[in-house]
Subunit: 288 residues, 2 copies
């Protein structure tokens, strides 16, 4: 049996009882380590489970699926994923390979940022399409996510922005030279994401475009969601550009139309200036 | 401390280790029992936790919040919610009351249908706004959810349809007579949801409207997601109208534009006729 087990968002104890029971009986346990991270490392998990873990990086999952699935029809193998197992495409691919090889599989779900984001005070059914922000390079500065956010806002919907994670990446130079030297991990911060958005806004403003999102749009920056030291900060996009929410992972929400209850909840975590913004919303927009 | 603890989707063991630890130390434990259900009842949970539970129906949560929050600044109180605690508006309201009363609160997240739906094979970031389907009455037949589904489809996005739950509801007659007699619980099935949608489609077809969703649209019916006997069925809307997916809870997805990997995953759970549909998609639509 292949078990795909979600680990939730925080630390070792965020696994479900069912998930822990499954891990304990598996002969091999893989930890997917490139699409997300917990606040604790491999060693802490190993101690908590009483099991050795095998780190599964992108190469192993995408090219070494056969190795992961080896003998899974006769022995139990666990594949641990931060959040819920279906957060990333590559895990669906693993399920498909298992199914096509006749290997039975079972999914043990857990919290994902896609639903945990509700704790910022915005209602989950008021969210539109989720977008992903990638680190820009000198030659690659995609803006399509901005248009999706504007589309959501036009429909009155909030947008959850997931942030780029770079783990075990080679520099182009090292890649060309065939050197297996990896860059330090990078996790996009809320400030970096806000900066990208504002660069897009400024460029489009110069071009005279009508803006769906501005520097004054109320946004919510979040860090380490679901952990004891999570940070939730409701503020304008401009304010978030200079915020420091600490260690990863970060995520960002661009609000759409706000309901009175949502405004009240955002206030619990609002910057003073965003409070002003929320008061303005309070007396006008959301009644429309 | 007020703990809002998600129970996940299946049975007693779907609580997280962190959640279980919190439940064990609380002096009062409420079980929210009107926005969702587990496959096991209160007694099974009580045995698993070694704790008595207090059932919290809509009246208690919406009107008796003070009772739930009583002494929570000096003692630990748990409020258990099926899925993730932020799935329903009323739970946000409880958080707001706690915060305004100066009561510290902590959220322990868990799987929600909003992310667990990924196990049907559709990618979570290809979903648009979630919609809710309510039981129609003779005089109230809202159709706005249909328009939202069409809007999502136009944007290429899938739609998760959450289904109405009626627990501890009075008939209008009993309500008018002030009789505290409650109707048996009702949970909308995938077949009922498909039937509603097809009624809308037929009515609009007669009016000559261009249809964003038809009887042949590929949909996914799901029952008891996250449990050992979950059912996932990819089929046309017409086929789902006559399906019996068994005990609650059910949910339904209307697909938008399908990616090749999504088609491959849907095939694992497809009806023969939907297979034909998926083959057609295979060779045309999704390449656009």
């Amino acid at each position: 049996m292949l078990y795909l087990i979600g680990l939730g968002l925080g630390d070792a104890t965020d696994i479900t009882v069912k998930g822990l029971q499954a891990v304990k009986k598996c002969s091999r346990v893989y930890l997917e380590a490139y699409t997300s991270i917990l606040t604790v490392g491999k060693e802490v998990l190993e101690e908590f489970y009483g099991k050795q873990l095998i780190l599964a990086d992108r190469d192993l999952v995408e090219q070494g699926a056969d190795e992961i699935l080896k003998d899974a029809e006769v022995t139990d193998v666990a594949f641990l994923v931060v959040g819920d197992p279906f957060g990333a495409t590559t895990h669906s691919d693993l399920v498909l390979r298992a199914a096509n090889a006749g290997i039975p599989y079972k999914v043990i779900h857990n919290a994902s940022v896609l639903s945990a984001v509700g704790c910022c005070g915005l209602q989950l059914y008021n969210f539109g399409e989720t977008v992903s922000l990638v680190f820009w390079t000198d030659t690659w500065r995609p803006e399509s996510f901005y248009d999706k956010i504007c589309k959501n806002r036009t429909a009155g919907l909030h947008t959850l922005c997931l942030m780029d994670i770079k783990v075990k990446e080679q520099s182009i130079e090292n890649m060309m030279r065939g050197k297996m030297i990896y860059e330090p991990p990078r996790f996009m911060t809320v400030a970096q994401a806000a900066d990208q958005l504002i660069q897009i806004i400024e460029r489009r403003k110069e071009e005279g475009e009508e803006l769906g999102v501005t520097e004054d749009t109320v946004c919510v920056g979040m860090a380490r969601l679901g952990t004891d030291d999570q940070v939730i900060r409701a503020a304008t996009l401009r304010q978030l550009m200079s915020c420091d929410l600490g260690a990863p992972l970060h995520s960002l929400v661009i609000t759409g139309q706000l309901h009175p209850l949502e405004v009240d909840l955002l206030r619990l975590n609002a910057e003073p200036n965003a409070l002003k913004q929320l008061r303005m919303i309070d007396s006008s927009t959301y009644t429309s």
